[in-house]
């Protein structure tokens, strides 16, 4: 499949953004966010910026971006539509949280606010944050399902496709959370660091299993089946339907990267999962340099994820290529 750069950028950026929002949501839900309102609102805004940048980037691959709102209508059947609906829904609790934390920066209102809600405010934050986190992960789940539901592309039509999208999103969110903690001068929770390292290695294992699956997967149908002959019949291309490349061949028949796939997989695994884990180990043993090390970790992870996502498209073969 043709790796459209807008879609790669969208899935990586918004994946990180939704992951960060999910981590923030979890911390709200379990009242672990005993940090300043400034950090809370910064984390929230950064995740919203990443999500929005990703969404804007994804609409740029539409032929008619001005009609994008129509994509919210078919949530009964279409995973793409469900993704759109959840992406919009996620903004509701997220913006409510922006409001709640933003009020603290306006002294006059915040006094009134505190009198009105007293101790209940933390409960509201837990619930709203939990909902935001849930919607965030549900959106990523839908993204994964868009690909996993396509039976025409066996490399994607696989039980691990969606879980990998979710795990990569949460892992990258955790890593960004650690960087932001360091940036705002908070001690980094050692348990969270350990969990992130485990998640990175779990991602590596999942991707390794996925790549092994991609190498072994077949269409299940032959060129002969595609044109209605008995499965074992030998079919050779004689006269092409068209002399130059057409839409189908460009969109579905992309195979530039396949010969470099092994090398690129190593880059993705090393930059995406091994290097960030090593950086986090350094954070673990030397918290004084947490900011530098976690910055290195996130840069490496983003590079690795871009390569991983590019491969996800470039390595996927579409059944229609049987005709060509």
């Amino acid at each position: 499949m043709n790796p459209a750069y807008s879609v790669i950028l969208f899935t990586v950026l918004s994946g990180v953004g939704y992951g960060l929002l999910a981590v923030l949501g979890l911390s709200c839900l379990f009242s672990l966010n005993a940090v300043s309102a400034l950090m809370n609102i910064s984390v929230l805004l950064i995740s919203l910026i990443l999500i929005t940048a990703g969404l804007v980037s994804s609409t740029s691959h539409l032929g008619r971006p001005e009609r994008a709102w129509r994509a919210l209508s078919q949530w009964r059947t279409s995973w793409l539509s469900r993704e759109g609906v959840l992406a919009v829904l996620t903004y509701v609790p997220a913006l409510l949280l922006v409001l709640i934390w933003g009020i603290e920066f306006v002294p006059e209102i915040s006094v009134l606010w505190a009198e009105l809600f007293k101790d209940e405010i933390q409960n509201y934050i837990s619930v709203i944050g939990g909902v935001a986190g849930l919607f965030a992960i549900a959106t990523v789940f839908c993204t994964g399902q868009i690909y996993a539901s396509l039976r025409t592309i066996p490399a994607w039509h696989y039980s691990l496709t969606t879980p990998i999208y979710c795990v990569l999103s949460i892992t990258s969110g955790l890593l960004l959370w650690i960087l932001l903690c360091a940036l705002f001068g908070y001690d980094i929770n050692q348990i969270i660091t350990l969990i992130t390292i485990c998640m990175l290695e779990a991602s590596l294992i999942l991707k390794w299993v996925y790549w092994r699956y991609v190498d072994s997967t077949e269409f299940g149908v032959t060129k002969a089946d595609a044109i209605g002959f008995e499965t074992q019949t030998q079919v050779l291309n004689l006269e092409p339907a068209n002399q130059t490349k057409n839409y189908l061949m460009r969109e579905m028949g992309y195979h530039v990267a396949r010969k470099h796939a092994l090398k690129l997989r190593r880059y993705a695994a090393f930059a995406g999962f091994i290097m960030p884990a090593l950086f986090l180990l350094l954070v673990f043993v030397n918290p004084g340099y947490a900011l530098v090390f976690s910055f290195g970790a996130i840069i490496s992870l983003l590079f690795g994820l871009m390569v991983e996502r590019w491969l996800f498209f470039a390595e996927a073969k579409h059944i229609v290529t049987l005709y060509y």
């Binding site: 499949m1 691959h61 539409l62 032929g63 008619r64 971006p65 009609r67 994008a68 129509r70 994509a71 919210l72 209508s73 078919q74 009964r76 059947t77 279409s78 995973w79 793409l80 539509s81 759109g84 868009i146 539901s149 396509l150 039976r151 025409t152 592309i153 299940g220 149908v221 002969a224 089946d225 595609a226 044109i227 209605g228 002959f229 008995e230 019949t233 030998q234 079919v235 050779l236 291309n237 004689l238 006269e239 092409p240 339907a241 068209n242 002399q243 130059t244 490349k245 057409n246 839409y247 189908l248 969109e251 579905m252 579409h318 059944i319 229609v320 005709y323």
Partner: protein, 251 residues
Amino acid sequence: MTNLPSQTDKKLGLLIDLDICVGCHGCVTSCKEWNSTDDMLPLSDFDSYGDSPDGIFLNRVHGYEINDGMTAQTVHFPRSCLHCEQPECVSVCPTGASYKRQEDGIVLVNPETCIGCKLCSWACPYGAREYDHNQGIMKKCTLCVDRIYNEELAEEDRKPACVLACPTSARLFGDFSDPHSEVSILSQERGGVALMESLDYKPVNRYLPPRKKQLSDKCENTSEQYSYGSKNRSSDAILDNFFSWLDKKLS
């Protein structure tokens, strides 16, 4: 609405006879012509007179060599939308622009609401959909829905343009849900095939396989009749070998 109708009143589709298709591409060009004129948005072409011309076609003809171990033969294979009963191109559509009609089973794209996300073309294993970069929307075979019900046309002309254009009558149009229709009867008699049935998209269109070529004794006799005569064969072979050796040495 991308919910599929549980059942359609008719199953309109094409029956394509691979035995007599000569690969003239007449159906390809007449399809392009009909679907680019009058009220239709044109099927865009790009770089028409340049080095790598490209364009949207709703119907394409491939040429293959088929070898079943005994005989090899050329097959011309026209490929267009099969108007599946389970079209996943429709159910993945996020806007409802793609839909399957309940009255006749035709799968269509509404050009007014398509956002050009291309997901439908990913969901189709048959390559029936092509994206129009000029208009930013997806295009596909309409089974000439604007011809087949068009009362301004003479009744014999109310057929898809590709069917009317075919000089060998390799394309037939009809209702596959009616067991007495011409397409159903022929498909039944000649073993009409649905493409890649195991994928379970349930295509409506059927392809009639080419009749098996027989390697009969008669064939072998004929080939002997037309050979140079057995007496001179060995000397011919020596000469042939000599010339091929000479050719190699000189070149």
